[in-house]
Structures are given as C-alpha cells and as structure tokens.
Amino acid sequence: MLLFISSFLLIWVFSLSQLNQLFAIQGIQPNISLAILVVYAFMEKDWLRRSALVLLTIFLLNFSPTLGLEAIFTMIVLFIVLTLVDYFKWQPTLSAVIIVLIATILLNAFSIRPGVILIESIYNVFLVGLFGLLLSFINSKRSSLNA
C-alpha cells in the first residue's frame, strides 16, 4: 500500500505541475505522469491498483469539462502501456525505456512533429530513471517494513 499511496501522491502533484508547465524546457514539457505510471507498473502487478492510477491520471490531465475522445484515447494508450510492461521480459531498465518511447510516440500520434517528440522522449526517459530510483527506494522500505 505504501508504494501505491506514494505513486498516487506523486501523480497528483506532478500532473498538476504539467497543467502549469512548471517543468517545460524550451516550451517542451515532459509527461511526468507517464513516467511514474511506467515505473509503478514494473513494481506492482495488481491491475486494480494500476487502473486506479490510470484513472487518477486521466481525471487530473483531462483538459475538458466532458469526457472527450482525447481522454478516452489517452486512457487506452496508458492501458496498452501497462500491458506492454507485462510482455516485455527483457532487462527492466531497457524495457522501461522502450515502453516510454512507444507511449510518447502514441500519445503524440496526431502531432507529426518529430523534433518535439524526440525531445519529449528524452525527458521522459530521464524521468523514468529518476522515479525508478525513488520508487525503488520506497519499495525497499515497504519490504523492510513487511520483513
């Protein structure tokens, strides 16, 4: 539960930061929520908890008063990403990088701007590393508490 609550709070805070472009560099901002979700999915195999975090992400990032096509498409992509986590059996770091790259391209599928997608992908991969360290630390604390 500690890992779930930590991820929940991280997604809450950083999704709101995405709405303020707090971490945008040269006008391009990373998809922090995506990075946290990918890392979490490698550590937590329970689909109920994964689904809760996906729905939280959609709720916070939905930029419309109604449930539009964009929100539905984003939700589908995020669930595809979580499914890929279970199918990629390679080394976790490499798998996470590839999955984040695929997700970034899918989420920008309607914007044919290779430069922006490339830079955003680099940011997202960097964040996967960062949150991977953070959530691994939290996960190790969870293990030591359970021991």
Binding site: L16, L19, G27, S33, R49, A52, P65, T66, L67, S111
Partner: protein
C-alpha cells in the same frame, strides 16, 4: 488485505464518476490547480521578478504596437487557470464562459494587443482557448511597416509561410494579425530569421512570440 482491495475498488468507482461527470469537478480542479500554482510561485524567490519582467515586456510591446497600429478597445482581464498538459496541443483554460457572453471563436489577447489565440469551447464559467502554439493554428498575418502578407503557422516554433519572394523583411519586424475573425493589428511577435530558400517560390521566416505561455496569468477576451 481484503479491506485494501475494497478501498481501491471504491477509489476506482469515485474516480470513474469524477471523470464521466467531469463538468461538475472541472472548475474545482482548475481552481485547486491555480491555488497550487500560486503557492509554488510564492516559494520561488525569482518568480515575481519573472512575471513582472513579462508584464513590462508586454507593456513595452503594446506601446510599440500603438505607435504602429490602431489601439483596440480595452476589456477587463480574466484569470488563466491552466495550460494543456501535453505538448501536441497548446490550449489554456480561462475563468470566463458563456454566462458572461463568451462565444466560440472570440479572440483572446494578452493585454489589449498581443494575440494569444481563439476560444475553442465554452462552458458556463470556463472556456478553453486554442493558442497560437497549437500545431494546427493558422492565420493570415502582415509583417512590418510594409505590411507584407504571410501565413502564420502555429506550433512550438512559430513560422511564417507564403511570403512573396521579392518581399524585403528585416529581422525584428513586428508580425500582426490580418484575419477578419480577429481585431485587426494584434501583435503576434517579431521576426527572428528569414529563410530565402534558393529555388523556392516563397520565403519563410521564424517568429519570436510576444509572450511566454507558462508566464501567462491574465488574458482579455474580445467578445
């Protein structure tokens, strides 16, 4: 263990309701986001200065524009709640809607004379604005004192296309709107560089925008 699962299931149901009936919570979510943004802004020692610099630059641009073009009628400003969270669409949410007469297609400016974008969707108290940074944004513009015609293409980098091959454009020339759906003469930015491609029919240019979207706090809607 089972209690934990029931909690997660309850959370999923609640989030599902929030998403499906999003309209009721959209304004509350954006208000909370604005509060959080203001809180983080107050923590940073230089954020006030950055916003003050942006405001001064805006006033400076407005004064320059007034020298060159007619002044538009002043309207009261409204708060910018948030920017679109993904890179492929540049939209902002503003704290005004149909209850105050806003309609789809209304022009939105920073101050009175710098174009931000146009209203895309309207709710009773909130409107979503497509900004000039949206990749799909296009509008006819004119450049500089010679009023050279061009087409502005939106995106992370603003570009000018369809510039006549024999037109002379200087760097730092002002770029302003010439679209009948906007008030005439709203500033968009200044020319950064001109690309006179050999063998091409038209010239191209890149534009430095007159505002930074992440420093946008208030805008004006031209109803």
């Amino acid at each position: 263990m089972m209690r934990g699962r029931y909690l997660i299931i309850g959370l999923i149901i609640i989030l599902g309701i929030f998403i499906i009936f999003g309209g009721a919570f959209f304004e509350a979510k954006l208000s909370f986001n604005k509060t959080l943004r203001d809180f983080f802004q107050n923590l940073s020692p230089y954020s006030d200065l950055k916003i003050r610099i942006a405001e001064l630059e805006r006033e400076n641009e407005e004064l320059k524009t007034k020298i060159l073009l007619d002044e538009t009628n002043p309207n009261s400003s409204v708060v910018v709640y948030a920017s679109h969270p993904l890179n492929d669409r540049s939209e902002i949410a503003i704290a005004i809607g149909s209850d105050e007469g806003v309609e789809k297609g209304d022009a939105v400016t920073y101050g009175n004379s710098i174009l931000v974008g146009r209203v895309k969707t309207v709710s009773p108290n909130i409107s979503i604005v497509t900004t000039i940074f949206d990749p799909g944004f296009e509008t006819p513009v004119r450049i500089g004192v010679d009023s050279v015609d061009a087409l502005l293409k939106g995106g992370n980098e603003l570009t000018l296309r369809l510039i006549a091959p024999d037109a002379f454009i200087e760097n730092d020339s002002i770029v302003y709107t010439a679209d009948p759906s906007f008030p005439y003469g709203l500033e968009i930015g200044r020319v950064r560089s001109v690309n006179k491609s050999e063998g091409g029919v038209f010239q191209k240019a890149s534009v430095n925008p007159a505002f930074e979207i992440k420093l946008l706090r208030n805008v004006v809607v031209h109803k």
